[in-house]
Amino acid sequence: MEDTLFDFYSLFINESLVEDLYAETLLTPLTTSTIVVTLLCTVTFYYIINSIRFGQLKHWLIMMAIGAFLTFSIVFLSCYNMVQQEIPRNEANIKKGIADYRFDQGSSVFFTYGLTMFFLAMILFVVFSLLIKHWSTNSRKTPF
């Protein structure tokens, strides 16, 4: 699984960051949390809220944004948390006094990764919506 995800994320995410995520086997949990968070948001919209009052396109977009933002936050904070752990990428370099730690790509790379996952979550939200909306009593015609 981790290999497949590595190949997938390598297509559009900073290669060094993907390697670090792969090395720490974070690709699977982060992807899973993205799916779970998005699915929860979709289920919440269609089956828990399931309301005409909160069933218009704008409300659907709000739920999509919430799911995407949560995903962004999880990804960004996970990377930031890994920075704090100072995990050596290469012990030899460390011994030589070279600061060679994993997740040293910087905030802008994490932000870009987070943003990518943000858009991925949005795509997932659309897919999940299409899959489950038909059984919603009040929101099955949202977004279309």
């Binding site: 005409i52 069933g55 218009q56 009593t137 009040n138 279309f144």
Partner: protein, 499 residues
Amino acid sequence: MPAKLYIFAIGGTGSRVLKSLTMLMAAGVEMSQVSEIVPIIIDPHKDNIDVQRTETLISKYKQIRSSIKTELVKGDFFSTPIRTLEDIVKKSDGIGTTPALTLKDSDKTFEDYIDFGGLDEKNKAFASLLFSKENLSTEMDIGFVGNPNIGSVVLNQFAESEEFQNFASNFTPNDRVFIISSIFGGTGAAGFPLILKNIRGAETEKVQNPENLKNAKIGALTVMPYFGIKPVQDKKVIDKATFISKTKAALQYYSRGVNKKLNRLYYIGDEVNQDYDFDPGKDGQKNNAHFIELASALAIVDYANTEDIDLECVDGKPVIPVFKEFGIRENEETIGLKGLSISTQNILSLPLSQFMLFSLYLDKRLNEVIGSNVPWVSENPAIDRSFARGNFIEINLKEFNQQFKDWLNEMTDNRRSFKAFNSEINEDLSNLIIGYSPKRGFLGKTKVDFKTLDEANNDVINGHNYANAIDKFIKVMSAGTGKMLSDKFPDLFQNAKKK
């Protein structure tokens, strides 16, 4: 086996009770033992606005009902069909297209009608004993003006009328008859015993199927005084002071010759009442709707829900004649649904509240929701702009709805006042039903508005297919209003179950 209920609505009161019944039927009040209603209005007063309003209402009801192609079930709005005699008989020569029976020579004075001038002296003297000068000069196109002695003569033509002959020839043993009349006026007091006599006393040489008529299940409602007439100086007109004495005299007569011929007889009246302006008739009699008329319509509902076994007749005599009266819980000037007895609440509260919701939805929500993504509206067959602008909504339902609102308002303004709903309602439906609050949710008061009804409609539409938008609209609104009220106003149901 389909059973028709023929309703003879006599006089102005008969028409007004029939109007109330039509409202109840529109609301889906259950009439379990009859499959359709056949009203026959008997009133010589051609310009009677009450009669005209009832005829219009019935016509609208029929148009609405005929637009619905799917079979309606118990509790659906407009579920019980109304048909006129013309709809039933194949040969309709001589029968009007409306439920009103045409009385011959009713445009004459009574004097001309009996050819008073052509009578010999003895008969003239005898007729003068029975009829005063005012009686003789009464122009009958304004009714019998509180004179049952005139009505008992003129209405005798009923037995020979095309309508009665067709009624008799189409009457089956499953069918039922109900007669509505007031006891304190002219037309009803005279017409009721006469119609009963012609049915129970049916003879082979006069009508077809006399046995069916003799053993017919017959119920009747006799409405005792529930309004007065304002005195008019220098005019010998209807005098409300005579209402009670007329009622007593008629009741005495009924106890001898009428009561024993009926399977069910319902009595109703009210001491709390209001004086109406005297209306000589030429401008059309138009009395505001009254709670007594609604309660009277409930008598017909009770009769229509009575099982056949309780209405048996042997040799033209009812086996178990039953006499009923109507009562309310508290003697208040203004009553609402809670002021009604538990059994009346059981019958009335839910359907009437449902139809009120339906009525408000038509007025305040339908145009707003069209074009939205609310599933019950947008899914096929769609409730769209062309549907909302079509004849069904614009001509039939909205006009019926206007009469429904007028009917409720008139009952509210009358005395005794019946006020079941707050008419000043916009979005918030929490205070719609007077005396009932919506169920409190986990976080306190729950919001009840038209969106709540839309959600209930979305729920009931699941798993159903509808032939067209009209069928869908009526069936979904019938079920959706019921669901919303049971979810949000469970007291409407629970109160009805308490004993």
